[in-house]
Symmetry: C2
């Protein structure tokens, strides 16, 4: 058997997320399982690195699966893209060590939350940004965000339905900046709880529009209570940008 790692870019608009808890169809995971079955004839279940929500997008989510196929690891990208719909692309593929598991690695993940900060909505951006028409002070948002950097218990920034064993995570960096007509929140960390980036975005929006002061975010964090933080911002603004495996990826036969 060979373990294949896929780097997957997708437009999450038409899907019920990567994989829902209940047995829901029309997920990214299911599309990958079906495409691999179509290619190799095997029944597989990919293991995903990040279970993105319905409507959330990714440039580089990671999935692995095992196959007896002799297709070279780096060819899966090309072959699967002929089968997959155009809103899902395997941008890279490679064979990796059989015990490589993307969720049991020392990783750094980068997300972006994109806010379209214009008076009127822009139709071509309606699925790829959260439209927020009131003025936003991105300098205050940046100041507020710095209270979240470091190792903290992020219970206030986690969906109450989370089943994670611990709510302690480390945010390495958050930057809030204006890029054209968008305000972008770029956050890098070792792991994120259920809805964590969207709650951070919803909270920083409260600061950006003047409903909260930057220092309030410190207090919200210390309360360890979901009700203390801001609302969960909608999914369409969220992009999983990239995964970094800090101890490297155990490629077989060289990197793709």
């Amino acid at each position: 058997m060979h373990r294949i790692m896929l780097t997957v870019s997708y437009d999450g608009t038409s899907y019920n997320g990567w994989a829902l808890q209940k047995s829901t169809h029309n997920t990214i995971e299911e599309m990958l399982n079906r495409a691999i079955a179509g290619l190799t004839g095997e029944t597989v279940e990919v293991i995903g690195a990040s279970r993105t929500d319905s409507g959330v997008h990714a440039y580089g989510n990671i999935a692995v699966f095992d196959t007896a196929s002799t297709i070279p690891g780096d060819r899966f990208s090309f072959c699967l893209n002929h089968i997959l719909p155009k809103d899902i692309r395997v941008v890279a593929s490679a064979e990796v060590a059989p015990d490589f598991h993307p969720r049991h690695c020392n990783t750094e993940k980068t997300y972006e939350y994109r806010i379209l900060n214009t008076k009127m909505p822009v139709p071509t951006k309606r699925f790829y940004t959260y439209h927020f028409s009131m003025p936003l002070d991105e300098a205050l948002m940046q100041e507020a965000a710095q209270y979240l950097v470091g190792e903290h218990d992020f219970t206030s920034f986690c969906n109450v339905e989370s089943t994670a064993a611990t709510h302690v995570r480390t945010i390495k960096d958050i930057r809030v900046f204006r890029h054209g007509d968008e305000v972008i929140i770029r956050v890098t960390g070792n792991g994120f709880l259920y809805n964590m980036v969207r709650i951070i975005a919803g909270t920083l929006l409260m600061v950006g529009r003047g409903k909260n002061k930057p220092i309030d975010v410190k207090e919200m964090l210390e309360k360890k209570d979901r009700k203390a933080a801001g609302p969960t911002a909608p999914p369409e603004g969220l992009f999983l940008i990239k995964y970094e495996f800090l101890d490297g990826v155990p490629y077989i036969n060289g990197e793709e």
Copy 2:
């Protein structure tokens, strides 16, 4: 009667263009006619400034129509957006002089053609860029584009089915530049022939990938023969950015 001017932003992906020659349904124009009828009870036919093709997008196309309704001009934007689908937004509206005709004015139009220049496609950009995976030299494209600036007979850069009385147009400015993972061709002129921007884009792509030299574009222009220029680039990369009325807009009751 009152003449109302609408500034319209749309995602052209799902439409057969602004208005097709034959009586085709599912056009931007038809959606506007229907929304206005729903609002005022009148049967109207909007007059559009630019008949964009199927799949082409706009931030600021212009339409006018006449109505006996007493709705203030600046309220049409709000009211029509409640009726229109989300891929069409009226971003501004105002009452204008009854003889104002958007195609009979001294105007400057700006288009952008957006090329996604990455090895692999990006699903979230698939309807809003033309994906071109080979390396492009944008400095050569910029050099080539300068031969098109000024008043010229653009027959080589016009669909042969054009019924325009003259093929002489003036391009005021073209800039080719890299913006993130895109190469953008931004062109401003007093008017554009059928497919003109897409043929300019297709021709500059030939230069950018080294199939033609910048000076070849001068010769293509001089030949006044559609076969001399490059292919017509696909519609999804094209955005009508804005219309400027150089002699002003004759607003009634002040600008919106």
